[in-house]
Amino acid sequence: MFAFIVRSVFFKAVTLLIISVVSFLIVHLAPGEPSQIDPLNPRFRKEDIARYREAFDLDKPLHQQYFLLYKKLFTGELKSFKDNQSVLGKIWTRFLNSLPLFILGTILTWCLAFPMGVGAALRRRGLFDQSTTLLSYLLISLPGFFLAYLLIIGTVNWLEVPVLGIHTFGQGDAPLIYQVNDRMWHLILPSLLGATGGIAVLSRYVRGQMIEVLDSDYVRTALAKGLPSDTVFYVHALRNAALPFITMFGLLLPGLIGGSVIIEAIFAWPGMGRMGYEAILSRDFPIIISLNFISAVLVVIGTLVSDILYVIVDPRIRL
């Protein structure tokens, strides 16, 4: 076990190194300059552009830029081109904004997917099973932004309520209960939309797992023995069917930082995803590279955690 951890940490460090080089190169080799030093801007004289490039280290050879950038990132000195703010500070505030979306999205995913999957498995080929199957495929195949616009337009036109942003503006003086509920209201649509894909996919998995377990010998034995069917389904079968999903917690980790670019952009949600998107538009290299690198780190840690969880929940697996 210990040897496994040491080995995978080593390989993952190598992976990260390669990712750091590749993401740096992709950003720098793509055409276009940071918007601050846009040579198309007629207001800039040549000497101004040269001075900007120097200030942002852009006049140095690529390999030096690479080391400087990652050195600054690790020492926390890295600053955004756009507003000279510390990159890590910016990422942290945006992370806190994305966090509630992520938490509620996860709660919704797991809360809805399990009953749906289990219900469908127990009523195999019944009406419930068929309709959840249809729903799942609809949710998987409908593009998120399309669904988002439909939901937003419907809610705004019929209910005349705001749905975008973190909260309704101008509610700062309202009693606490109004504010709490207002924030909750604003969370519903984006987190639901963020969860649709998860709900659809996860409920399919749960259904599959559950069906597999229901077909196994010990379930048949338990039923033959005359145990109440609820005990068999919800205690014996569900517990075994749910095992593989525990490992999915590890894979949730990268979702923390990725956020959802499309959902956050549509809902004017000042989260991480939108920051990344805007950084790309304005060619804010430090933000793009840092986000990329941090999410790579999280993916790597996530896979490591899920590997370890596997071993813990299922003693049959040896590493």
């Binding site: 800039f44 005349e160 101008g170 109004y178 207002d182 909750m184 209201w185 519903i188 919800y234």
Partner: protein
């Protein structure tokens, strides 16, 4: 069975908990649910976030909007687009002029005598404009010139250049007179002035760099002077009093190379800024340049928060090297302090910028307590936020205007944009060198139809390069009629004959490529409409759509195009030098169509040197007519904007009896509905108002 119940109850509980929150959220018609603070807030939506809240550093529209609310300038425009004082109460503009007498000719003293006599006699008449004539002793002026480094090297060297002037004559004029030296030549003889700069230049530079340095020698020099009288007792938001030192500081900050200010070009013509006392600012210019006056509308920085001492202290506080710490690094740019009607509260990036009204504003505090600038990157989202009452204004798309104007929930305002869309012809290439061809191409296009069907009627015709609602626009210039027959006749006149439906001359067909940028649907549609219209008169045209950056770099900047569809955004100042002067036709310059007309050049220079509005308008009208007659562009249209507001927003004014009266928001003559913004207020219900 517990697990079974949990599987049903937990999701149900979560859903119920979430959905009940709906009953606590304010709706469009009931915006005061929970709190009535919403009535005292104005919320505006914006596509993009601000970048840097500093009037001398920002380049984007969002920052400009916030900066204009937080920091007042010395002047701005009134309801009729004339200048009015803000931090300045009044101003006067006069001129100081210098000239170097020709070596070997009459001395400075002699010339001064002759001018003095003419002035005393009041003969010729213009001499009355001279208030003072004096001889000034020899002086040396030092300057720094940015000279490109040698071959193969990037960047510029800063080279000192000195000019040693001999005795000069200095004249002080009541009013700026751009023809002064021509008039003086008539009075003093044609060769009274020195013409060769070489003897006065002290520099080791050689070759082209020396020639550039020679242009620093001014043998005759107009120095317009603007004297601003500043408003007394104006306070910055931190309680510090505003005075002339802040104006001088703002100018110096722009010119400080460490700050990399994008406004340098606007203030480069300034020779020096003097502050004779706390409430007077004297700006002396190097040359005649009337657009410079408008630049004083820029927000004034607080010196006490941003001068070298304050910056050094801030650097120490933040543990940074004071030597490298510039205004660009200062926290001020995310927390500005000015003298404007609103003071800065907070800025959460890509989410919101909040401002609160400044209770001690010199003009009286605005009605709204808070101004909120929301960043909503998606236009549809903005529209929906407007419908749900969490944004107060919305700019309607052309196709929505008719529907939304009728909506009883909203009030709407329309006006003309400052800008126009046009087809530009590359005048260097045949057949566009012939004005008849250009006129024919214009007459073949039905711009009325373009406005009707592509803009849903939200546009007007335009015939010239000035803002249509400004005085400089010549309404006497009538647009060429849409007349394909006449267009064909004009082409015949120019030597083109129609065979097999195609215009030909010497066997060659009249055909070319029309280019515009990708991503602008209206321009794309125009290209197709124009292609069809020209085909009908026998001119087959190929349409090309190119990505914006490629379009500018590969076509416009390299002058490699036949005809393009583009648009200009304009300011109110009538200076057309960059776009229309024949000296601006090189690669990468803005007169990319290659327009060149000696009379137009002359007028363009006259306009930018004229400080008298009436005379300037006269020149502008003539220039407008000349450009339209030459048709280097086919002017297509100026678009209309329509802004929507919640009908619950009104103008609230205190009457003489102390009671607050409400009246409808009415636009000014030039179409601006936001002119009285500081008096706006939102009511809980739609009011019944007359008018």
């Amino acid at each position: 069975m517990l697990v079974k119940r949990l599987l049903l109850l937990v999701p149900l509980a979560v859903i119920v908990l979430l959905l009940q929150s709906y009953f606590w959220v304010p709706t469009f018609s009931d915006q005061v649910k929970g709190s009535d603070a919403r009535l005292r807030q104005y919320i505006e939506g914006s596509i993009g976030d601000a970048q840097i809240l500093n009037p001398i550093l920002h380049t984007d529209a969002s920052s400009g909007r916030i900066v204009s609310l937080v920091l007042d300038g010395l002047i701005d425009r009134d309801e009729n687009l004339n200048y009015r004082g803000r931090l300045a109460t009044s101003w006067e503009i006069y001129e100081e002029a210098y000239f170097v007498p020709r070596p070997g000719g009459p001395s400075a003293g002699d010339l001064r005598e002759r001018i003095g006599r003419a002035r005393a006699a009041g003969q010729p008449e213009w001499a009355r404009n001279i208030t003072r004539a004096e001889v000034i002793p020899p002086a040396e002026e030092k300057n720094i010139l940015a000279v490109p480094k040698g071959r193969g090297q990037r960047g510029f060297d800063q080279v000192p250049v000195a000019v040693a002037y001999p005795e000069r004559v200095k004249l002080t004029l009541k009013e700026v007179d751009q023809d002064l030296f021509d008039r003086l030549k008539a009075l003093l003889g044609p060769d009274a002035f020195a013409t060769d700069p070489a003897p006065y230049l002290k520099s080791e530079l050689q070759g082209p760099a020396r020639q550039r340095a020679a242009s620093e020698v001014h043998l005759t020099e107009h120095n317009p002077v603007i004297v601003f009288r500043l408003r007394k007792g104006v306070l910055f938001h931190d309680g510090h009093e505003f005075d002339s030192g802040d104006v001088r500081f703002t100018y110096e900050a722009i010119m400080n190379p460490a700050n990399l200010s994008p406004r340098v070009a606007d203030y480069e013509p300034v020779k020096r800024v003097e502050t004779p006392d706390r409430h007077t600012v004297r700006v002396v210019y190097k040359r005649l340049y009337s657009p410079a006056f408008g630049t004083w509308g820029m927000g004034m920085l607080p010196e006490h928060l941003l001068n070298a001492k304050a910056l050094a202290e801030e650097a120490r506080r933040r543990n940074q090297d004071p030597a490298k710490f510039t205004m660009r690094d200062s926290g001020f740019n995310r927390h500005p302090v000015g003298t404007g009607a609103f003071r800065f509260l907070e800025w959460r990036s890509d989410e919101v910028i909040r401002l609160a009204r400044f209770e001690k504003y010199w003009e009286g505090a605005p009605n709204y307590e808070e101004y909120i600038y929301r960043i909503i990157p998606d236009p549809l989202t903005q529209e929906l936020e407007f419908y749900s009452g969490s944004v107060d204004s919305y700019s309607a798309e052309p196709h929505q205007v008719r529907r939304l104007r009728r909506d009883p929930r909203f009030q709407s305002f329309s006006g003309l944009a400052f800008g126009y869309t046009y087809i530009g012809f590359n005048l260097r290439r045949p057949p566009f060198g012939d004005p008849r061809v250009r006129r024919a191409l214009t007459m073949a296009v039905n711009t009325r139809q373009i406005r009707e069907f592509l803009l849903y009627g939200e546009g007007e015709d335009i015939t010239g390069p000035f803002v249509k609602q400004s005085d400089h626009y010549n309404h006497g210039v009538k647009p060429l009629p849409y007349d394909p027959r006449a267009a064909e006749r004009l082409l015949h006149e120019a030597g083109w004959k129609k065979t097999n439906g195609v215009m030909r001359k010497d066997g060659k067909p009249l055909q070319f490529t029309l280019v515009t940028n990708h991503g602008n649907e209206v321009r794309k549609a125009i290209a197709v409409a124009v292609q069809d219209a020209w085909k009908r008169v026998g001119v087959p045209v190929q349409v090309d759509l190119v990505e914006w950056a490629v379009f500018i770099q590969k076509y416009i900047n390299t002058l490699n195009f036949d005809a393009v569809i583009l648009g200009w955004q304009m300011g109110l100042d009538p200076d057309l030098f960059q776009i229309w002067h024949s000296s601006q036709t090189g690669p990468g310059q803005l007169n990319f169509v290659g327009y060149s007309n000696p009379r137009a050049d002359e007028l363009i220079i006259k306009i930018r040197q004229e400080y008298d509005l009436k005379k300037q308008v006269g020149y502008a009208h003539e220039l407008h007519r000349i450009i339209y007659e030459d048709q280097p562009y086919s002017f297509l249209y100026v678009s209309k904007w329509t802004a929507l507001l919640d009908r619950k927003i009104v103008i609230a004014e205190k009457g003489p009896d102390g009671k607050t009266r409400h009246r409808k928001i009415t636009p000014t003559k030039t179409g601006s509905h936001t002119f009285h913004f500081n008096k706006w207020l939102k009511l809980p219900q739609v009011p019944e108002l007359e008018g």
